[in-house]
Amino acid sequence: MKVHQISLFVENKPGHIAAPARLLAQEGVDIRALYLADTQQYGILRIIVSDWEKAARTLEAHGFVVKVTEVLAILVTDRPGGLADVLGTLDGTGINIEYMYAFSDVRGDEAILIFRFADPDAAIARLQAAGIKLMASKELLKQ
């Protein structure tokens, strides 16, 4: 149920996101979702791509420091309160969300949110028990 996400350390300077983006383009790797966390000095570029192994290999071979993390893709009904319902299932469980962002696609009346949990397994168990839909990589990356 987990999805592989690639994180890259980038300096907060003009042009520093272009280089990895160009490399992935050359390798035919499609960026499906992207999230940039930044400070004044540097940032972390988090991406979900069509082929994470190829992306990690390519970037590392070109000297980038890459971290592969496992995140969850959660389907949230696209209506007021959709997100609050999902988060509500985590109340009182001690399951901590490190960060979250929205996936670029919308499936029907459902939006896809990407969550990074400190303990993804505990989160999967809790969310599934509450009837929340998670998406597997294959399904998520289907064009």
Partner: protein, 443 residues
């Protein structure tokens, strides 16, 4: 050959015999050679003779080793001022090799060797390598620059003299260096420590596990490096890392080297006489006291150096080494008296920055110091490359790393400096000596 036998062969290398000369005999030899070299320099080198004359000193007045303190110092500027051949003590027909040291500022310096000088150089390099446990049958990759720099050829002839197989790779082309190590089963490498760090990183990128190579010894020199760096190198590979010391003005690499005890560097005292002096007053300091290393060549023909001020800060370690060598040891050189940076009135050595960075777990020593001046005030920025070990995909954790680095640097340096985490492989890698400081201060 089994390993026990191999090590006993190394210990018995006849080339190492002078390392164990009984002390009284060694001191007699040193005095005899000191008197001869002073007489030779006085006869042949005008600058030296005029300085002796100024002091009213004649070569015959050197009657004991302690009298060395009466002799005038030689400084690097003397080599520059007499460029190119002003300090030669042999006619050019006897000089068989010239080397040139780049020098960071101004004119280069030239050093000369007679055939005998080259033989001495090779013999001390053989003793270095034998002391590191290397012998015939080893395959030694020499990844110092070949050419005007003394590192490449010095290590080359030493390794050949030992009877080892030499791979004269010179510097550059890390991928090829790694391929040669792997394909030839190289057992020892000689290069600068920072270049080896670069090879470790590159090998990891190429998917080559350094720990699976037969490489078992690294002889690293030409720039100061620390014990923490040694631990890092040794944890990333299976090698035993040795510190070797030398400088072109004296002979090149091979002035001193660690033995397998790793308790300081034995100076090949039958050829190079060490003293430690106060870097400001020039007064001799007792054993165990830190000061500037001063060296006198005892056997050099083409270009004798009398009391040469190395600018390297070290000490003579008291007591005998457990290896049994009678040669005195100097402490590892962590800094040079001319590396010192003065930032807002505080003295800072780049090695202190390294110490602070290494206190933080997972920080590899790829760093650079950038000095600028803003509104008349010196600013120092330490740029640290983010490595895979350090990187997490959480901003908070990176911020935490930044704060820990800041704290360690503030504590060690005593002044506030700024820290920049930069992308991996963006700080320029040197193939020779690492360039740690970029000074962009303008008046």
């Amino acid at each position: 050959m089994n390993s026990v036998l191999e090590s006993s062969v190394a210990d018995c290398n006849p080339a190492s015999e002078p390392d164990y000369t009984p002390l009284t005999q060694l001191r007699d030899l040193q005095l005899q050679r000191l008197q001869a070299v002073v007489a030779r320099a006085w006869r042949q080198v005008e600058l030296f003779r005029s300085r002796m004359d100024e002091r009213g000193l004649a070569p015959q007045q050197i009657r004991s080793l302690e009298d060395i303190g009466k002799l005038p110092f030689t400084a690097k500027s003397d080599l520059r001022d007499t460029y190119p051949f002003g300090l030669f003590a042999s006619p050019m027909k006897d000089v068989v090799r010239l080397h040139v040291s780049s020098g960071t500022t101004g004119k280069p310096i030239v050093v000369a060797y007679t055939k005998e000088d080259l033989d001495v150089w090779t013999s001390v390099m053989v003793r270095c390598l034998a002391g590191c446990g290397l012998h015939r049958g080893d395959i030694i990759q020499v990844a110092y620059g070949y050419g005007l720099f003394t590192g490449g050829l010095g290590a080359h002839y030493g390794a050949e003299g030992l009877g080892a197989t030499v791979v004269p790779a010179s510097t550059g082309n890390a991928d090829r260096q790694i391929m040669l190590m792997k394909d030839f089963g190289v057992t020892a490498i000689s290069c600068t420590p920072t270049y080896f760090l670069h090879l470790i990183d590159r090998a990891a990128e190429l998917g080559v596990d350094m720990k699976e190579l037969p490489l078992r010894a690294g002889i690293f020199g030409a720039e100061p490096w620390t014990d923490s760096m040694r631990r890092h190198i040794e944890s990333m590979s299976r090698i035993e890392a040795f510190d070797i010391y030398g400088l072109s003005e004296i002979i090149g690499p091979g002035v001193g080297c660690e033995c397998r005890q790793h308790q300081g560097l034995h100076v090949f005292e039958d050829h190079f006489y060490p003293e430690i002096v106060d870097p400001i007053t020039g007064e001799p300091l007792p054993d165990g006291c830190e000061g500037e290393l001063v060296l006198t060549t005892l056997s050099k023909q083409a270009m004798p150096m009398i009391r040469y001020r190395t600018r390297d800060i070290s000490m003579i370690l008291p007591g005998r080494c457990e290896c049994g060598r009678t040669l005195r040891r100097i402490g590892r050189i962590g800094r040079r008296s001319d590396d010192m940076l003065i930032i807002r009135g505080v003295n800072i050595f780049p090695s202190q920055v390294e110490t602070a960075l290494l206190q933080i777990e997972g920080t590899l020593p790829h760093y650079q110091i950038v000095l600028t001046r803003e509104q008349g005030l010196d600013q120092m920025e330490v740029q640290v490359e983010v490595t895979p070990q350090m990187f997490t995909d959480k901003i908070g954790a990176l911020q935490g790393l930044h704060d820990r680095l800041q704290e360690a640097l503030d504590r060690v340096l005593g002044i506030r400096v700024s820290i920049a985490l930069v992308e991996a492989n963006t700080i320029e890698r040197s193939e020779g000596k690492a360039k740690r400081v970029i000074d962009r201060r303008t008046l």
